[in-house]
Subunit: 187 residues, 2 copies
Amino acid sequence: MQQQGFVIWFTGLSGAGKTTISHILEERLRAAGHNVESLDGDVVRTNLSKGLGFSREDRDTNIRRIGFVAHLLARNGVAVICSAISPYRSTRAEVRSLIGDNNFIEVYADCPIEICATRDGKVEMYEKARRGEIKEFTGVSDPYEPPQQPDVHVRTNTETAHESAQHVLDHLAERSLLREPAASRAS
Amino acid sequence: MQQQGFVIWFTGLSGAGKTTISHILEERLRAAGHNVESLDGDVVRTNLSKGLGFSREDRDTNIRRIGFVAHLLARNGVAVICSAISPYRSTRAEVRSLIGDNNFIEVYADCPIEICATRDGKVEMYEKARRGEIKEFTGVSDPYEPPQQPDVHVRTNTETAHESAQHVLDHLAERSLLREPAASRAS
């Protein structure tokens, strides 16, 4: 019997720590015996969405494509980690409904924008956004709609990335989505 | 140990029988215990490539996206069937190199264009293409580059779709890619 796959769907501002937590999760899930794929914003923009911009329509198209690919992978047993900003609530809801409530875990990487803007590799981007040199920048010149009821809410300004990853893993375990290495070998 | 996935990559004119053979293969591979995903031209154009046209560049982008998704699925053990026209040799070679020679099976659905143009659902399309009402139509007003050394060459004007599917399955078995239902249960 095919092990159930699922989709860990991060949402949060640039610099909120989505990718950092993703990397930890990826490693932990592999160690637990899962097949894992990470679909991060950049990989997807290169391979699925080249040419799309950052208008609402283009962002939605990008997110729907990630959702479609995540859906195909998850229904074949893969643990999929998506870490695009995905700023719009209704688009996230659409993806949730495609993938199915039981296999969709929305993780809100919550961090005040002032903190995000100080993080490694983000300082210049936020400055450029503030000066209008980068247009349509989420949280500065483009909207971000935080989840109202995320499955997991991590506060990346007050906890470490490892702690955040552990919250996600605990949630997966509660929902019986986490594979036990021993069990996977015996099945 | 994860069962090896692979990609069955059809190429051929519209009406050559790619989708018909795909459906038979899909069923046979499922029955043999494989996880199977079909990425046909239309599904992909809706979910991954909306807005792309039929210029060389747009066709290549479409094919590369199918290749990227097929690659993700195959490396997670899925038997993937792709049945877009994929008219350009160099783009097919690119996808083969992404997926890896060992897991890529190019199937040439070979059928004279006069026969393709008589098939169910294709008559009007070919007539419109000949009248110039559909532009950039492969084989009529747009190039088709047949494979020089396909892994499997099926001649859909002289064999049935079931026979063609069987040729593909025989080839998979020769390359030890075909799962045996009994073996899969025991593993």
